[in-house]
Amino acid sequence: MSGASPFDWLQTLQALAVPTLLALSAVVLLLADLVLPADPHPANTGPQPIGGRRNRGPLSFRELRSSIAGLPPPTTATAGAASVSADAPHAAVPAEQPAPTVPGSWRAGLAWIAVGQLLVTLAFRLLAPADGLAAGGVFIDDAFAAYLQVGVLAAGLLAVLGLRAHAVRHFGRRQVELYVLVLSSLCGMTLLAGARDLLLLAVAFELMGIPLYVLASYAKTETGLPHAPGTLARPQRAPAEAGLKLYLVGAVSAAVTLYGLSLLFGLTGSTLVARLADAPPSPLLALGVAFVLAGFGFKLGLAPFHFWIPDTYQGAPTPVVAFLSVAPKALGLAALVRVLADGLGARAGDWLGPLLGLAVAALVVGNVFAVPQQNLKRLMGFSGVAQMGTMLLGVAALGASLAGQAPSEAAVSGLASLLFFFAAYLPANTGVFLVLEALTGPLPAADPDTPHDRDTLASLAGLHRRSPGLALAALVCVLSLAGIPFAVGFWAKLWVMVAAWQAGFAWLVVVAAAVSVLGLFYYLRVARAMYLGQATETAPVRPGGVLGTAIALCALATAGMGLWPAPWVQWATAAARVFLGR
């Protein structure tokens, strides 16, 4: 036992209450899915499970193979017949009809359980004091962690609300997994928020990431399309591709991160982040930091580790992207700050240079590549790269201060501006994706053999005529992302830039401001499409109550924070002070 403080169960549990609650929620949700009765209307909702049985029971290998591989089952009479009967309802559905939903299914209620669980956890987080230390200091429950936890819980809540209609519509029997995966990813994020141990950091990082790989590849089946007899309906191509790209780049980056962490561990012999400060400066240390930076670069989507972003955003289910595009990035950056500032603060001079390079690359690449995009999801992906680049200005200010190149106040304002930036970025970014989901989510699945590209700016054209509310919500979010004065995004950008300026990075601020002009252009293009574009369709868009609520929450939060940023500013400043011990 190397921990300085004796192991205290109660204290540990208290400090870890939020991740624990989330893990328990996931388990409860799974149990609920198992325990609750079968679907009331399974017969007319799609193909029967193979062999006419429920999917959850144990399968024979043959069935598993045919089930998994989409191949014709072995030519035994029963299995073959089952396969054909499984296909029959598909063929009966006309091509243009939306995928059938399951009216009255209790599965649609799973989302409400998840929402309830998240609300309880959020309430707990807001009410419980944040001053705990878990198991020898591997995890700290302080104001910094609490701030981030509140943020990701809110993001999770929005994600579940946004996912519900999509799941009911497209994922019939596979809904519970979605929410369990969101909850376990959140569990990883909340752990990451306070992890002060390299090992826990690595595990939490993966716990956050692995469910996202699955969520991004959650493909709906192409119902209603003719397919060869004896084969099963194909899943959509785009999510599979999105998931593959996310996964492969992510797995390689995870290996890179772990390699870097192994080097950092090797130089101190302790897994505690704080002990990194003991490591004498050496090339190996610098190398370890470079590997960690590169690995986190993937999660944050910094150039040149960003290539997966637009493709994955485009292909993955839109509500998943709404979640994927903010919370993991925020927590990835928080974890990076933890390692860089808490552990390697004294060596800030070493990592500052590479970090500045990453910031400039992200700012330039993100903004330039976003300009020609016609697909809104890709546009948001690239612009997200640029936003992360802006956030790195805050880290740079922090680093300059830690390295002694800037006044100590720059550290607080750098970190606080970063935290505030998260809070500003979260609802705006989520809101745009949810509006898109409201617009294109209910459309029937496209032909699996053609890449479907519905999420274009053209599909937004004339949105304010089809649904003024949605258009207004999207406008609020987009203006905030663009950093139009007096949207919250403006305050966030201003603060981060002021912090960087104070830390002596005037040139960086100038670069950021210059490329931000491009941001103004492409974000306003979205607004122009909605308000000035000629609508090709005139049917009104109705997002439905749940999704509508989520969108309204996003827009209201964005607008509200823009009008009244003071409480958030103070909150972020307090969290930053606690983190820096000032």
Partner: protein, 168 residues
């Protein structure tokens, strides 16, 4: 003696590793990976990490390699240019010079950094009893241990949800 053992293990790991990334036949590649992993288990024994070695064989060789073989079998390669029922040759390396350049450059940087960093010679013995390791895992790293159980649950669930026939 230690040097000889190291040499043997290193040769086995690198040789089989090279074959695992170069082999044209995918099944062979996976099997060479298994050899490399077993050689690593031997390395763990040399590094006085017997429990780790056991886990390496159980989890990696027993679990990962088997999973991969399942994967190879479950995905037929007819559409990738191979004959029906046979594994395709599509796993042959492409753009080998690019890969070799980056691999060599990366190795060079790491090696250079390694040689510029003074590291002490380790003490002769390390008491790596399984009991102490277990104490550590369930003590200092208990939080991570619990987290990884959630992770395994989520991964399992996710893997099944993806691989299972998708239904509406």
């Amino acid at each position: 003696m230690a040097q000889l053992a190291f040499g043997l293990v290193a040769a086995a790991m690198l040789g089989s590793g090279l074959l695992a990334v170069r082999s044209r036949n995918l099944v062979h590649a996976v099997l060479w990976l298994a050899v490399s992993l077993i050689a690593t288990a031997a390395a763990y024994v040399l590094l006085s990490a017997p429990f780790l070695a056991a886990m390496q064989i159980l989890l990696y060789t027993g679990g990962v390699v088997t999973l991969m073989l399942f994967g190879v079998m479950l995905t037929d390669h007819r559409h990738d240019g191979g004959a029906p029922g046979r594994l395709s040759n599509d796993s042959a390396p492409q753009r080998p010079w690019l890969g070799a350049f980056f691999a060599a450059a990366l190795f060079g940087v790491v090696a250079a950094a390694l040689y510029q960093t003074p590291l002490p010679v380790p003490a002769a013995a390390l008491d790596a009893s399984t009991a102490r390791l277990g104490e550590l895992v369930l003590g200092d790293h208990l939080v991570a241990f619990e987290a990884i159980s959630v992770l395994l649950l989520a991964a399992l669930l996710g893997a099944v949800a993806l691989a299972r026939k998708t239904d509406p």
